[in-house]
């Protein structure tokens, strides 16, 4: 019965690793697709307040406004008062309208009328600054806003 000759030795065959690159590439593509490289360079501190009664933001039609104290490495240059940031630069309340119109034009034309303003505001900011921003938004007729929060609840700690 030489047809069924036993293999010599009991050593394990090496695991075939030829498909390893394929698997890794698959993972790679997944991460490449889901990665969002941060668009704006944050100049202000962002410790968002916590809330749990939240809704999701539709990304394609949103304009971001950041506000808060300048983060520690900019504090020397810009002081420690609460400031507003739109896009990559600081804006003050008076130049807010111009900066917002500019940001709105970057969106798709058919979505420009249903724009949602996402307010990313640090928890230690004064409400007065937020009110000023909202006043300007009303003048521009951009009345849909969303206060971006982090998950959790202020009551719990």
């Amino acid at each position: 019965m030489s047809k069924f000759k036993k293999k010599k030795g009991g050593e394990l065959p090496a695991v075939n690793t030829a498909s390893l690159p394929d698997i890794v590439f698959m993972l790679l593509f997944f991460f490449m697709v889901v990665t969002v490289l941060r668009k704006d360079n944050l100049l202000v501190k962002q410790e968002l307040p916590k809330a749990d009664q939240v809704e999701k933001l539709k990304k394609d039609r949103s304009v971001y406004i950041y506000a808060g104290k300048p983060s520690s490495r900019y504090a020397e240059k810009y002081g420690t008062e609460g400031k507003i940031q739109i896009g990559d630069k600081f804006a003050d309340v008076k130049s807010l309208q111009f900066a917002l119109t500019e940001e709105r034009q970057k969106l798709l034309p058919e979505l420009q009328n249903s724009v949602v303003v996402a307010l990313k505001i640090d928890g230690e900011t004064n409400t007065g600054l937020v009110t000023d921003i909202k006043e300007e938004l009303r003048k521009l007729n951009m009345v849909k806003i969303i206060y971006i929060t982090s998950p959790g609840n202020e009551l719990e700690n």
Binding site: T17, L20, P21, V24, F25, L27, L28, F31, M32, V34, T35, V36, L37, R38, P49, K50, A51, D52, Q53, V54, E55, K56, L57, K59, V116, A118, L119, I121, D122, G123, E124, T125, N126, T127, G128, V130, T131, K134, L137, R138, K139, N141, V143, K144, I145, I146, Y147, I148, T149, P151, N153, E154, L155
Partner: protein, 202 residues
């Protein structure tokens, strides 16, 4: 010259290169998930328009001072009690027109959920954190009542179905669910007013 077979390229290091890229993307990825409290601002109005009049008992006044303390209906209150107090106010049903209210039916409090207005007044120096916490509690009060009514009428929770509809993964007839959502919103409308904040110390 005799043709030689081209030697095969060694692909053994392919995995290493792919791993390197993979690790780069793993490290740089921040899967962003922006969520928050959505609001619609009132449109800009000229100054000479008179504000609409409400009966005083239909207004629930929440005052937040610069030290982040709450004054609710002229009483000092902790943030944790605000939700219950707001639910009691909205659910009161003082004049008997609200058939689904389960409140105390106190004639000195709100008449009907669709007449009741919650007014929040902030100081300019209130922390934004406190402001959001107050808004969150008030929205929670509305959501509690909406959940209760949708549970009673349709057997599902308002917040869950609303979330599924927003994310587009609602199973079933979306239009019918939308109509029911609207119906609940009409029964318990979100009437949150914000007064102009006062200057500190005035």
């Amino acid at each position: 010259m005799a043709r030689r077979a081209t030697p095969e390229v060694n692909a053994g290091s392919m995995a290493d290169i792919a791993f390197l890229l993979l690790i780069f993307f793993l490290v740089t990825t921040t899967i962003e998930k922006d969520k928050g409290i959505a609001r619609q601002l009132p449109p800009d109005q000229p100054d000479n328009v008179d504000p609409p009049l409400f009966k005083e008992k239909n207004i629930f006044i929440v005052n937040v001072n610069k030290d982040n303390q709450l004054l609710v209906e002229s009483e000092l209150m902790d943030l944790k009690d605000l939700r219950q107090e707001a639910i009691a106010f909205l659910d009161n049903g003082g004049d008997g027109t609200c058939t689904y209210c389960k409140g105390r039916r106190d004639p000195a409090s709100s008449d009907n959920p669709n007449k009741a207005v919650i007014s929040v007044q902030n100081d300019r120096n209130t922390d934004y954190k406190t402001y959001i916490a107050v808004q969150n509690e008030l929205v929670a009060a509305y959501n509690f009542l909406r959940d209760r009514e949708s549970q009673r009428l349709f057997g599902w929770k308002y917040t869950e179905v609303k979330k599924a509809l927003d994310e587009g993964d609602y199973k079933g007839n979306e239009d019918a669910a939308m109509d029911k959502i609207k119906q609940i919103q009409d029964m318990v409308p979100l009437k949150l007013s914000e007064a102009e904040p006062k200057k500190s110390g005035k």
